[in-house]
């Protein structure tokens, strides 16, 4: 049969393949390899028939050409007959796969390629090994075997071979899956977002905006320059209508009355018009640029200041607030303020200046006509304001509905595993649809009013113009004003009536900005509940003696720690034991000074921790938590998180001690592998060992382990336990654990119950006393036994069945 009937030989290789194949062999599979021995990109071909394996690669002398369409002599062809009895083996690492032809006791050949070719490689390996098996059988039994060819089909989209017909091509699926988020159209009324109002805005005084001056002050000079430019550019825009007056009276009207047009006068006026337009363009550009520059800087300063301040606030502050809220405050509100300053405020100032200047000009030309022109203005302004007010209420409603919609999203997306596990996709969809429907209904209602708004403003403008026309014509007929004056008036007011609408929005914009300012200053005004000491004591060397003296801690109205006394000697390991809610974690938080005690004191080496500089004090404490957090970055960065100046040797040393070194080396990029959100996936135990390395690297005198091993399985726990043993040596250690067995090496066990210390001593003493610890231990032993029994029972049941 003809080779390559169903299997497509990659472009450029056809003639090479044709030249080699004989007519009696069946092509089983083709693989285009894209890497050479040195892992450089270079095309090659591997072809399996039922008789032999053929491979083409560029001979090293062949030079640079990248396309295979060179002379056939540049290619070397190697042939491995099936009689060699060699099997193909396939393995991959870090995106590169290798296909090896393994003979009885030696490797005959090796091909390398990227995983893009993996599908074909799998197929080739499978087909070859199958053919080999049948070939060997044939030799043994001398029986004939059927053709293997026929399973292949090409994917219509990407032209690749795929293994079976029913499934979509796995290569193309990658492509068609990736939806671009930008393509999704926003169904929400864009105006509603722009107009959305905050609940707390009513209380936010507009005067709060003045507090922004603190951030604007550094840019004083540029602000003044911007204001001057605004003034000048507005004035420049008012020149053209003024020039219409002499154009009418000195050129057009005399012409109608039979006089010649004096071209040099016309040229002068036209030049004036052009010059004014050019000037207005240049000044407008400059003012917008400068003020946008300044407002962006004010926004950036505000953001940095708020974030800096946020980082210094105590954990108590974060405990009570949602991450999303804080993120919007720092991200969204500052941006909103920035837009307000650079756009809305600027527009308003320009419009206001324009109206004032226009009024002055109009009065200077003719006070009677000016009065008639400006009379409808307050009335129109009032009307616009009334309609806007009603619109605003509607937009507020839209905003609330919109947040309802976001809430659904915020609820379900992080909890998607639960949703799927309980098969509640339908219910969540229904919830979203309902919220969306509500959103639609509210939008429909407001859209009626909103669509009415803009034509109404136009109508008002027309009516205003009508008044001016009527009064103007009457004045002209009385020879009180000239036609030119009337034209100039009409040109002026046409400009600013349209601006009334945008001016009327300034109220809501200002209120929104004021609300935003208030929310940001709320962060900036918040004083940390864990203040820095006024006159700090420097404690550079810490021995690790911890004394907790009569400590009381209240959270809200709940008394969580009650008059607790505990002394921990340097180098001692304490195991904190107790039911959940007994105050163990709170005690640890107090020692870390995430919170301050309400009464009593905690001393380290005899110094009250409230007198130590916070950052310095915490640098003496190593914390290993139940859920280790890895930041986005390399593993080395994560280990060196507490000490960014650590050398590579120190990082490796810490990783070795934490039993993390070897698993890190097995990752494709070693210590340079990216972890954290969007990074390499690591198991819980691996993450925990990285966090232990992190704690080891800062070499703390005091070590706190809060359920460090409770989220991993027993086997991993033993790995981690080994790592922890290295960590504990010579340090004052406080360990919290549910599983009492993990605290066996503790020098002293401290049993807590409802915020009180009820027992302490080592394991034997406490067992002998038959108190709370003994009861806890018994309970755990019983449940362990029950578990073991359960497993045993099930096993025996299976045996019986």
């Amino acid at each position: 049969m003809t080779p390559g009937q169903r299997i497509v030989i990659p472009q450029g290789f056809e003639s090479l393949v044709q030249a080699q194949l004989n007519t009696v062999e069946n092509v089983l599979a083709v693989l285009e390899v894209d890497l050479d021995e040195q892992l450089c990109f270079s095309r090659g071909l591997l072809l399996a028939t039922d008789q032999r394996l053929l491979s083409w690669e560029r001979s090293p002398l062949s030079g640079e050409a990248q396309t295979p369409e060179g002379a056939a002599s540049k290619w070397t062809c190697k042939i491995y007959p099936i009689d060699l009895g060699a099997k193909l083996s396939l393995h991959d690492h870090a995106g590169v796969a290798a296909l090896e032809l393994m003979g009885q006791d030696k490797r005959l050949a090796k091909w390398r390629f990227t995983l893009a070719q993996n599908l074909e490689a799998n197929r080739l390996q499978m087909q070859w090994n199958q053919a080999l098996g049948e070939h060997l059988k044939k030799i043994e039994s001398n029986a004939t075997s059927g053709s293997l060819e026929g399973l292949s089909q090409n994917c219509p989209t990407c032209g690749r071979l795929k293994l079976d017909f029913s499934n979509p091509c796995p290569v193309c699926e990658v492509k068609s899956d990736g939806h671009s988020p930008t393509e999704a159209s926003a169904t929400h009324n864009p105006l509603a977002i722009a107009e959305s109002l905050d609940d707390d805005e009513a209380q936010a005084s507009t005067w709060g905006l003045l507090r922004l001056w603190r951030f604007a002050k550094p840019y004083q000079n540029r602000l003044i320059l911007g204001f001057v430019l605004t003034l000048a550019s507005t004035a420049a825009t008012l020149v053209p209508p003024y020039l219409t007056m002499p154009l009418m009276d000195e050129v057009l009207i005399p012409f109608q009355n039979g006089q010649q047009i004096e071209s040099h006068v016309v040229a002068m006026y036209l030049l004036g018009l052009f010059g004014a337009a050019l000037l207005a363009w240049a000044l407008g550009w400059l003012k917008t640029y400068i003020l946008a520059l300044v407002s962006e800087r004010i926004g950036a300063d505000l953001r940095t200041a708020a974030y800096d301040h946020l980082m210094r606030l105590s954990l108590e502050y974060f405990g009570g607030r949602r991450t999303g809220d804080l993120m919007t405050r720092i991200g969204g509100e500052t941006d909103r303020l920035c837009v307000f300053l650079s756009l809305h405020l600027l527009d308003f100032a320009t419009d206001f200046l324009m109206i004032v200047m226009t009024a002055i000009i109009l009065f200077s030309i003719d006070s009677g006509l000016a009065l008639a022109t400006l009379l409808p203005l307050p009335f129109i302004g009032w009307l616009i304001h009334v309609v806007r007010d009603r619109l605003r209420m509607g937009f507020e409603k839209i905003d609330r509905v919109w947040s309802e919609l976001t809430n659904v999203l915020a609820d379900t997306i992080p909890g998607i595993r639960v949703v799927k596990a309980f098969a509640q996709e339908g219910r969540e969809s229904a919830r979203f649809r309902e919220a969306n429907q509500h959103n639609l209904a509210v939008n429909d209602r407001i859209n009626f009013l909103w669509s009415l708004f803009s034509p109404t403003v136009t109508l008002m403008t027309e009516i205003g113009l009508l008044v001016v026309w009527a009064f103007g014509i009457w004045q002209v007929s009385q020879h009180k004003v000239t036609v030119g004056v009337l034209t100039a008036f009409l040109a002026y007011i046409g400009r600013f009536y349209t601006r009334l609408d945008s001016m009327s929005r300034i109220v809501s914009h200002t209120q929104k900005a004021a609300a935003g300012t208030k929310r940001i200053f709320e962060i900036l005004d918040h004083v940390s509940s864990v203040p820095e000491p006024v006159d700090p004591v420097n404690l550079t060397h810490v021995k690790g003696l911890v004394e907790i003296d009569n400590a009381v801690f209240r959270y809200g109205n709940r008394l969580i720690i009650k008059h607790l006394h505990l002394d921990i000697q340097p180098g001692e390991m304490i195991g904190l034991v107790g039911q959940s809610g007994s105050g163990k974690s709170t005690l640890v938080n107090l020692i870390c000074r995430f919170y301050d005690v309400s009464e009593g004191s905690i001393k380290i080496d005899g110094v009250d921790i409230r007198r130590l500089p916070l950052a310095q004090y915490r640098s003496h404490i190593g914390l290993v938590l139940q859920e280790p957090f890895l930041f986005f970055g390399t593993i080395a960065d994560n280990i060196a998180y507490g000490r960014s100046d650590a050398t590579r040797e120190e990082i490796i040393q810490a990783a070795r001690a934490a039993h993390a070194h070897e698993f890190i080396l097995r990752l494709p990029q070693g210590y340079d592998s990216l972890v954290g959100e969007r990074g390499q996936g690591l198991s819980g135990g691996e993450r925990q060992r990285i966090s232990i390395a992190r704690a080891l690297l800062i070499n703390p005198r005091i070590l706190i382990m809060d359920e460090a091993t409770s989220s991993v399985d027993t086997e991993t726990e033993q790995e981690i336990q080994k790592a922890l043993d290295n960590l504990v040596q010579g340090r004052t250690t406080i360990a919290i654990a549910h599983r009492l067995s993990t605290l066996q090496r503790a020098d002293r066990l401290v049993v807590m119950e409802q915020g009180e210390l009820i027992e302490q001593g080592n394991h034997e003493e406490l067992m002998k006393a038959q108190g709370a610890y003994w009861r806890l231990y018994q309970a755990q032993a019983r449940s362990d036994q029950a578990n073991a029994m359960d497993v045993g029972l099930q096993a025996s049941k299976r045996d019986v069945l």
């Binding site: 870090a94 995106g95 006791d105 490797r107 990658v174 040797e649």
Partner: protein, 160 residues
């Protein structure tokens, strides 16, 4: 740890007929070893570890350039056997600015094409170093963004 020890040359690396790497070290012959760099991006010439088939560390080499040239060659080729992270030198063309898209690129390992699934597959290590993972798991490195030519940077900029 061997950081402070001087590095006495008492090991050798070689391949057998099957193409499997061996390490002979203090009189023991380990079969199927692999050599990996600890910091392939930030310090490729420091910290090389030779691991056994089971992933246990057998030998630690502080600095590659401290080794005799011949041995260094062996270690390098053992690393090459496993390590693959082409450095993108130049972007020739991009078929679309909307992911997924194909990039035609020049790397220090030759010209090739990569399929980018999404913008999130381009990760920033620092302001000038990027890692681009293609749809098949190959990671391409851009060592110095600022040093690339204008055309490449202009194309890349659409994705950053």
């Amino acid at each position: 740890m061997s950081a402070s020890e001087s590095q006495p040359v008492e090991f050798s690396l070689y391949t057998d007929a099957k193409g499997v790497w061996h390490l002979s070290h203090v009189g023991v012959d380990h079969v199927g070893v692999i050599a990996v760099r600890a910091f392939p991006i930030h310090a490729p010439n420091e910290g090389v570890s030779i691991l056994s088939q089971e992933g246990k560390e057998l030998l630690w080499i502080d600095r590659l350039d401290a080794l005799p040239a011949e041995l260094r060659q062996d270690v390098e080729s053992c690393i090459q056997n496993r390590e693959f992270m082409p450095e993108i030198l130049k972007l020739d063309s991009v078929n679309s600015f909307v992911t997924p898209c194909r990039w035609r690129i020049q790397t220090h390992k030759g010209a090739t094409e990569l399929l980018l699934k999404g913008e999130e597959d381009i990760r920033r290590l620092n302001s000038n170093t990027l890692i681009v993972s293609d749809a098949y798991g190959v990671q391409y490195l851009i060592k110095n963004l600022a040093a690339m030519d204008r055309h490449s940077r202009k194309l890349l900029d659409r994705f950053l």
